[in-house]
Amino acid sequence: MQINRDMNILVVDDFSTMRRIVKNLLKELGFHKFDEADDGATAWPMVQSGKYDFIVSDWNMPEMTGIDLLRHVRADENLKETPFLLITAEAKRSQILEAAQAGVDGYIVKPFTAATLNGKIHKIFERVAEKQAEKQNG
């Protein structure tokens, strides 16, 4: 499956090192359009602009958590379909289930590898393509 490498990606993490690592890995995978936010609270107005095709976010951030950002996105009629990947150190089963209920598309626990990120992105966009095909056919 062909993934659009020109898509706009928003990387949200309060640690600049982590944002850099995620961006570099995404670059290695061929993506090149990124913006960054250091908290859910700063990310949300950016997301509302409607610019982003994919959001990669941490969970634990001081002002607004990644799970809250996800809930905001899913609750907005115009944004609710935006693919959302959580990359987080939060690994309680209850948290993973909560994220699934909130509508997360992928969940990666830190520390992670480039192969895991690649695999998840492929899986997410395969599902996006399937959904679009279903819509067109339906």
Binding site: T65, A89, A91, G106, I108, V109
Partner: protein, 225 residues
Amino acid sequence: MAFSTQIDTEAVKALLRALEENEQDKAVALLDELTSIRESELYQQVSLLTQNLHKTLDQLDDNSLLLQAKHDIPDVTERLNYVISTTEDASSKTLESAEKVLNITDSLEQMTQGLPENERAEYSQLLSEVNTELTEIMLTQSFQDLTGQVLNRVVLIISSLEQSLIHLIDQSCHDYDSIPERVENRDEQQASEMKGIGPNVTQKSKSDTAQSQDDVDDLLGELGL
């Protein structure tokens, strides 16, 4: 509360008289009497201090000091040890990778031997720049030595503080072993999980967690994700 520390003048006069009259046995007995009063006053003071300490510890909300001594201090030590070992592993992985790349640049350098002089010089220059950057990466890893030393020292200070607190708790007639577990109710637990609790690095916090990405994938797979 103040203790009477006044020395009985009559008792001292009696002691002086006994000494002047060279009545050694009597003098010793009087002196013993005087010191025993002082000793018992000292004992009362220490016992009052202990009672106060016990009361103070009892009055603390939810025995917070006791719970902190029993649970939070060991928790802090466990977390610091996680930081020490994680940074050590990361540094060592980075060094291994840098060393591997250095070996590759050595091989590349060898391979340039057969090239025409101008090309060889150009490759050599680039390879030397790569080596300089790799050396920088390796030297930067020395942060681990410095931060590790600082953290080891912090762990020692905390352990010593822990020992002092345990001693204090003992002295105040509390039983360290019978300090209860910290109980977090379900709502509080859920609220803190939603806020994010960070990596589960302590033995206690590891319960009910996904141990690997495969675990996460299995769990989500069951939900059709």
